[in-house]
Every structure is written in structure tokens, then in C-alpha cells.
Symmetry: C2
Subunit: 87 residues, 2 copies
């Protein structure tokens, strides 16, 4: 599954475009976020992307989950959002 890493400085509109493109190609995508700011941008991107794909009859939703990642030898808990399409 393709993974989109989203940070607090990511622009939701741009992430939404990438998200919509992957959803159209593969039907599913995973977004990875660390921290509240990054999660905020990722969720906004999903809301915006819903508008991009809805005219094509694609209805997307997300499944949030915890995931452990390692950054510079340190373990951090990240939140991943698995985005899928209803159709």
C-alpha cells in the first residue's frame, strides 16, 4: 500500500490532490502522521479529497490506527490513517 507521510507543515490541498490520485489508481492509501499538527493536516486533506473524488462516484473514508515507528533510534507512536473507498 502506498504511504503518504504528512507533517504539520504539509498543505492540505496538495496532500488531498496526491491522496485522490492514489485512490483513483489503487483504491486505497495509507497516511502516516506524528503529532497533532500533522494529524490535523491529514484529516483536512481527506475532507478535501472527498470533494475531488465524489464526482466520480468514489466515496472515501478512513480507519485510524496506532503504529510504532523509529526515528533516529527513538521509538515514537504515530497515527496512521488507512483511506479506502466504499465502492
Amino acid at each position: 500500500m502506498e504511504v503518504l507521510k504528512v507533517s504539520a507543515s504539509s498543505k492540505p490541498g496538495l496532500v488531498a490532490g496526491a491522496l485522490a490520485a492514489v485512490i483513483r489508481e489503487e483504491g486505497t492509501v495509507e497516511m502516516q502522521t506524528i503529532g497533532a499538527g500533522a494529524l490535523n493536516q491529514a484529516i483536512k486533506a481527506i475532507a478535501i479529497a472527498r470533494g475531488f473524488v465524489a464526482p466520480s462516484g468514489i466515496d472515501i473514508y478512513c480507519i485510524p490506527a496506532f503504529t510504532d515507528i523509529e526515528i533516529g533510534g527513538e521509538k515514537r507512536t504515530a497515527i496512521k490513517l488507512i483511506v479506502e473507498s466504499k465502492k
Copy 2:
């Protein structure tokens, strides 16, 4: 639809319990958040609640959307999360 208002100081475990209870009763619930901190707690609550309801064969997901709310005469953009069950 029942609305759960989540703030940055809400405890994800407690919100998850409330979420799971409403999902079992009504099959759907709306969460309302203002700000990245509140959204963070709401998303964590959904991830935790997935574990609460999964043993009963209930698989939940969320649909993020923008919504305008008024607080003390001021308009704010909030993010609502519509939580639904796949079955």
C-alpha cells in the same frame, strides 16, 4: 445523530467508551472538534474504540468533514468526524 463534543483535554479512552456505546445502540455517531489538539484526541478515541467493538464483529470507520459553528457570536471552522459501522 448523537454528537460527541471532544476537546483537547478529553481522555481518548473515555471518549472511546462513549463512542462504542453509541455505535452499539445507534450504529453511527458524530464527533465534533475544534483545533488540532481536540482532533488528535478524537482520532485516538476512534482507534481505541475499534478495539472495543471489533470482538462483536463491528468494524468502524470515520468520514471527516468541515463544519461551521458559532462560539460566542464568532464563526469558527470545526472538523466533524462521522463514525459509522461497516456491518
